[in-house]
Symmetry: C2
Subunit: 143 residues, 2 copies
DNA sequence: ATGTAATAGTTGATTTTGTAACTAACAACA
DNA sequence: TGTTGTTAGTTACAAAATCAACTATTACAT
């Protein structure tokens, strides 16, 4: 015991953030997993395409900070399930334009709505100022 | 476009928490990974034993909310590296008392110090009130 | 034009996690 | 004592993440 041993894991920010993230994610995860058989990365890719429109895999990776192999596999699975289509881009045939199908858009709208409701429920634990503050601080941390 | 499409992933709490957690964890992760070849669960187990003294795997799992298979594997690896010892408990021979070796304690002290410094550096982005508020809100979220 | 480097995306090998089933020990109770 | 149920911890197998190497294409410099 060195005298500096009063440091508690409870208050170590990375630990705290991970615990909170896990706790906050779990119930929503069950929705996209059970209802659509989706993984987290797939839900994110779906969301990006639904919310911001057609784009390439690299675009998604940059926006969402997801590694390209994860994006690649998520796109593959979403295509298998007919949630999106790919189209080689003429001016740069290495990349492809990803776009949601009607099915994909429906899934996006439904999940997006669930997410909004879920978010509101989570935030209802806090006052308006607290919610605002929390998100603001988290945005700063996430850079 | 339904009119409710103004919902942005940026402000979806689970997403935000995950991004912040990832960002906040990465640099510290490199320390225990490169310096001790440890995984996150191993660092947590080590920390619990160092901070709170000898206990069983179940105790650790409950305190840190880690599933028993993860604890089991972390303990195994920590034992392999001579960071801890096991001893069957006489009154209940199913469970074992886990205790850090001298090597384990040294690693704990060093990592614990790094963690404290790291935490302070992270929090230095914020004012004292903001830091306090952030942690308080996160504790509530993590339940 | 041609060689070299960079980029988009995929694939394969390895590591790590998650889930379920398992063994061993204990508890409770007829 | 024997039966049934529970708990501590491990193991096996499947699912997923990580990392490096790979193909195809484009960009750039000579």
């Amino acid at each position: 015991m060195t005298g500096k041993d009063d440091f508690d894991l409870q208050y170590f920010l990375p630990y705290l953030l991970n615990q909170a993230a896990e706790e906050a994610s779990i119930a929503f995860q069950k929705v996209y997993k059970s209802r659509y058989g989706m993984l987290r990365t797939e839900w994110r890719v779906l969301f990006h395409l639904g919310r911001y429109g057609a784009m390439t895999a690299t675009d998604i990776g940059e926006r969402a900070r997801i590694h390209k192999t994860k994006v690649s596999r998520a796109v593959q699975r979403l295509e298998d399930r007919r949630f999106l289509t790919r189209e080689r881009i003429a001016v740069d045939r290495r990349s492809e334009r990803l776009e949601l199908t009607a099915t994909g858009q429906t899934a996006y709208r439904e999940l997006s709505q669930v997410a909004q409701d879920y978010d509101r429920a989570l935030m209802s634990e806090f006052s308006a100022e607290e919610s605002e503050m929390l998100k603001r601080l988290l945005v700063r941390l996430a850079k």
